[in-house]
Symmetry: C2
Subunit: 263 residues, 2 copies
Amino acid sequence: MVLVNGIFTDSVKANDRGLMYGDGVFRTLRVERGVPRYWDRHYLKLNSDCAALGITCPSAALLENELNLAAEKTPDCVAKIVVTRGPGERGFLPEAAAEPTRIILTSPMPDRVKHDEIRAYLCKLRLSRQPALAGIKHLNRLENILARMEWRDPDIAEGILLDAEGNVIEGTMSSLFLYRERGLVAPDLSFCGVGGVQRERVLEYAREKGIPVEIKPFGIDFLKQADEVFLVNSVIGLWQIVSLENASWQKGAFCEALRNWLQ
Amino acid sequence: MVLVNGIFTDSVKANDRGLMYGDGVFRTLRVERGVPRYWDRHYLKLNSDCAALGITCPSAALLENELNLAAEKTPDCVAKIVVTRGPGERGFLPEAAAEPTRIILTSPMPDRVKHDEIRAYLCKLRLSRQPALAGIKHLNRLENILARMEWRDPDIAEGILLDAEGNVIEGTMSSLFLYRERGLVAPDLSFCGVGGVQRERVLEYAREKGIPVEIKPFGIDFLKQADEVFLVNSVIGLWQIVSLENASWQKGAFCEALRNWLQ
């Protein structure tokens, strides 16, 4: 199902700035029994991402209505919400009167959601550092695509991305965390990477349970020394990494408890 | 006029990877009396940009036919050619069978083409360094948009972009050169920036005239000491910068000769 500006259609104007320049943002979330999970948080993030780019975010009520409409026939699905700056004339400067485009796409829940432990791959591509875009889930995703094209082995579920300076940042489509010495460590996303709702929820879990949290830059060797390494996003939930290059991990108690809490 | 995959329509599939991820490349060129200027060179660049992203580039003949069709009613126009990886299911990994999408958009020649000397602005946004994407005219253009949104003064025609390390790279929509000590200096585009057909033609001019060329990193102070500073692209031709921050220049003989040669 595709809904564009509230209408069931699978087409978007060719001069939409989302297409011309990747000028927009998105969210991906699960809809369960017709209810978009953690909608309030997703909307908050969508809204702040829009603000960072100077895009007027459509209202939460409007988007939620359209989400419900799109998911009417498939009450359990993955929904992707895209907000672009809208159609425009040629040129990078947005027109003051630009009307944002709202796109809702639903798709079936993927099989891979069923895994709990996964093998990961260390991507060769290094993320560039751009503080003006760091943390934003925007439509400029060529780095993720090039990284994802590095492996075809279906037994590898996700690729780990470092930045140009060797800091571990995230998975190609997920947020990364370490558990070590009874504390949680999350990468610093000041220079690159994508912030996510599940990332926030993991941090909330740590606060709730009194688990110390450090958000800081770290390299791949530090990651390999962790007791547990895991990835989260709104579709997969939590994946514990059990194999990455020459490192391997057993199924961990922290990941299991956190996974149960997240669900 | 908009032509999508050879058909007059202004709509593109909502799940096109060009829209979802900025997964594609483009060229902008002038069509004069129905003839796309420097088409062979534009196609070569389009083709190599596609190859760099693993996109199968449509044939030159097919695109040229569609360009002619799009420009039939407006023999003097600006044509933009976009090639995306095509529609796809959710997920960064491209499907092997992805059929690229071809989009041709024509628009009237802008007024600003008539200027020869311009005022420029030094953008605050710094380009990130990503060797995997450097030089490619791809659809991930949020940096250019954020940079272009920094000024609204209509008397400023272009913004100059530095990279994260302070190297001068380009204009937001143009290639930059210096003329100093009877030699041409061009920024090194190994880490960021966009390669262009007019950039290649300027380098060709220098070779033809026996003018020494250096392609190297340089900062804003080096730029300000140049005898002439100029910008080129396929639509504007050549713009000499006469004012940038506290620096100013007189109309220069090198720029004038080069402009005539380019035309």
